[in-house]
Symmetry: C2
Subunit: 201 residues, 2 copies
Amino acid sequence: MTASPTSLRERKKAKTRAAIREHAMRLFEEQGYASTTVDQIAEAAEVSPSTFFRYFPAKEDVILVDDYDPVIAAAVRAQPAEVPPIEAVRRAMREVFAGLTPEIWESERRRQKLFAEVPELRARAMHQLGDALDLIAEVLGERCGLPADDLRIRTLGGAVTGVVMAVLPPGRMTGESALDAADFDRLLEALDLLQRGLPLT
Amino acid sequence: MTASPTSLRERKKAKTRAAIREHAMRLFEEQGYASTTVDQIAEAAEVSPSTFFRYFPAKEDVILVDDYDPVIAAAVRAQPAEVPPIEAVRRAMREVFAGLTPEIWESERRRQKLFAEVPELRARAMHQLGDALDLIAEVLGERCGLPADDLRIRTLGGAVTGVVMAVLPPGRMTGESALDAADFDRLLEALDLLQRGLPLT
DNA sequence: CTGTCTTTTGATACTTACTCTCATTTCATG
DNA sequence: CATGAAATGAGAGTAAGTATCAAAAGACAG
């Protein structure tokens, strides 16, 4: 067979990738995002700057990996068919959040803090929300037996995504403190409001 | 009095600003965004590169001005109090769109085309949606007699903003063609769906 | 119109993100 | 061990964005 699931190469690459990410994170927190150069990160991670850019196409991308959307999508798919769509998303999110280890929570907090502080990163994070929307629309389309670009599905997906954007930081609503469990409670509550029919209409 | 509303200085500045914007736009369309340098724009607009950055903090900002959000906000405020919130937004948007001159439509089309093509710009455009959300939440809060950070208001504003994000290009839904009147019709229809209570629940 | 003050501009130099190319090293496999 | 493929490092080059300072142009009093 050609190279086992984790050949030496793959392991090394994963290790390098992780090292770069960690050192970058640390340096960003110590000195700020803007005043940390790629060269510094590369040196700290003991790779050449060239290698840095091979792993991450841009400096921003070091913190821009968001692995949860596909997980949530899968969790939505796993909901029983009779659960209505928004409620399915809500339950999926609750399950995924509940399954996170404290370490992941902590690292997520740190990421969110950076997003809140650096507008450049916040912009990219928002952009990812667009991809999340497409993903959600696709999953909800499946559930409802409609194409993902059906206007009703887009509306639904847009509303859900918009609520996430409205309730969760980057920097909105919560004055300054970054990402706390209460934020997720609020998100779940907001989805519930959405599900029951929008308020105040 | 100190310098009339449009002193010579102010007029010159406005002119320079417009010149830079127009030449930038033209060059972007002719050669693409990435392969147009700030120096080229500056030369075409007959200013120094330094001056370019005085008018626009970054290359992106040349096309990133969006003047409509406050206009729409004002139009929402102008709706009679008995109109329910989402419907108020819908009517406001319809009025504002209807009032746009063909020239503005055309230039808006060109902007949106660039957004669709250049991910960097799309990211920033998405980021502005966050600001739009805050604005909408504020206006809706006023209408409903609730603070802008009330969870119900945030949910409402998020849903509206999300629907805009879901239905309008940058690049989503519509395969390739950029910003056409039908897109706005769809947006109005989607807001109507949202207003009547979300479908398929 | 003249001189003076203030704002705007241009020239220059510098940092840093990012790209490209090529030689070298490191792993995979027969 | 030999051979091919993939990953790395080194170096040069482009362009965005910043800081500084001197020159040019508008504002205004006399």
